[in-house]
Amino acid sequence: MCGSGGGGDGGAAEREAARQKKQDAAVGRINSLFGVSSNADATPLPDRNDNRFYTMVRPAPFAPPERTFNQSLYDQAVAEAGQNGANNTEAEANKLKLDSIYQGVGDDVSASLTKDLNDQYEVAERNGRFNAARRGIRGGSSELDMQDTMQENYDKGVLDVSNKASNASLNMRNADSKTRLNMVQRILQGMSGDAAITSAQQSMRDNTENIRRQSLSQSLDNVFGDTAYINNQRLKQQGAQRANDYYGTYYPSNKSYSGVKN
């Protein structure tokens, strides 16, 4: 029939669908680069730390229960996720690599700050030991008190280092996440997939370097400051005492000097 030839839909939706397919592929490549599975409907691979894979088992009738990892339950969950499309192996491989980078940044920060902490401890400990020897209290309870304080400060320092290392890893992860969102946004706004990938790779390198540099440039506070202060005060007191002993009443004592201490 003559009329069957006209009045088509123009194919705009088809062309748009083709464009969106390319867009999805580009977003998928970006996501994969950042270790994120793109399949919106896919079940993500299960997290090994998920509580559902752990069971509480008592090793003995009255022993406290222990958290035990259930490998078969985990394997089953992995298989189910695989059936639902969570087999984006490239994304998973990249996720493992990125986790290792984040961990590496944290470890570097931890190693650097721990060295700083140990150096500070070594100096403070040596000063404390000499101070105790000078005062003749080496091997006494006063020295033990001082060691207690130092050990407490050291423990706090260790935990502080651990927190800083953990924060460095988190900052890095968050920076990468922001980069990924930014790149996806750019693709949606019309940036080509290849350009976005190149830009994303550069951003990831920058993120790693920036976080590493920022984290390593920060240092620990003076962890043993209060111990050092006490030691210094004692040394000052000793000096004043020696001066008093030598000069007698001509050397003004702290008590009579209008409250101004040297």
Binding site: G3, S141, D155, L159, S162, R180
Partner: protein
């Protein structure tokens, strides 16, 4: 005046017009249906991503995750303390000269107390850290969901625009059929006396614009 051939031709012209309009309406409705289906798919995908993301905010899940984070953090901090102490022990300077047994025993007791205090401190810090870690993990998941939702929303909008063009195109009358209709109407008029027929047909002929105003 009432020439049967003219009336027949005019009726045929009207029928072609009707068919043309009816087809255009069908095509338009079909395109609208397709567009709505596509829109529904995008919307459903956004809703799915949102629902999946919301699962993490289930209070039971959050309590579990909080506890898991706390346990992990506590273990990590306790390990850090243990490792640091081990290194410290191997580097520590032994007491020089003779010290009393009381000192040695007291030192050992205090070390045990200190270790417990360290573990307690690690536990406290892990409790402080756990919510931050939880929020951070949730933000990461939010970011993943927002990528999906943002992409789908943008694509839905783009697709709606494209669908709009298709609907507009589909709703246009078929020019070939318009031509046939026009020729039939012209022939009807050529038979003369078609004025009455044209007058009658003019009320039903909806689209005559392409025929240069032949229907008066």
């Amino acid at each position: 005046m009432c020439n049967p051939a003219a009336i027949a031709l005019m009726a045929a012209s009207t029928a072609v017009d009707y068919k043309n309009q009816s087809d255009a309406t069908d095509r338009m409705n079909k395109e609208i249906g397709l567009s709505e289906n596509r829109n529904d798919k995008f919307s459903q995908s956004i809703i799915n991503a949102s629902d999946k993301n919301l699962e993490q905010y289930n209070p039971d899940t959050r309590i579990e995750n909080l506890q898991t984070n706390q346990d992990k953090s506590e273990k990590s901090l306790t390990d850090a303390l243990t490792t640091a102490r081990d290194n410290q022990a191997s580097n520590s300077v032994a007491a020089q000269g003779k010290v009393s047994d009381t000192y040695t025993n007291s030192k050992a007791e205090r070390a045990i107390k200190r270790a417990k205090a360290g573990a307690d401190l690690a536990k406290m810090i892990s409790k402080v850290r756990a919510p931050t870690t939880l929020r951070n993990d949730e933000q990461q998941e939010n970011a993943k969901a927002s990528t999906v939702m943002g992409t789908q929303a943008q694509q839905r909008s783009d697709m709606a625009r494209a669908s709009g063009y298709d609907i507009e195109n589909a709703s246009k009358l078929n020019p070939s059929m318009q031509l046939i209709s026009g020729l039939l109407r012209g022939a009807s008029m050529a038979y003369g006396g078609a004025g009455g027929a044209a007058g009658t047909a003019g009320k039903t002929a909806v689209s005559s614009s392409s025929f240069g105003g032949a229907i008066g």
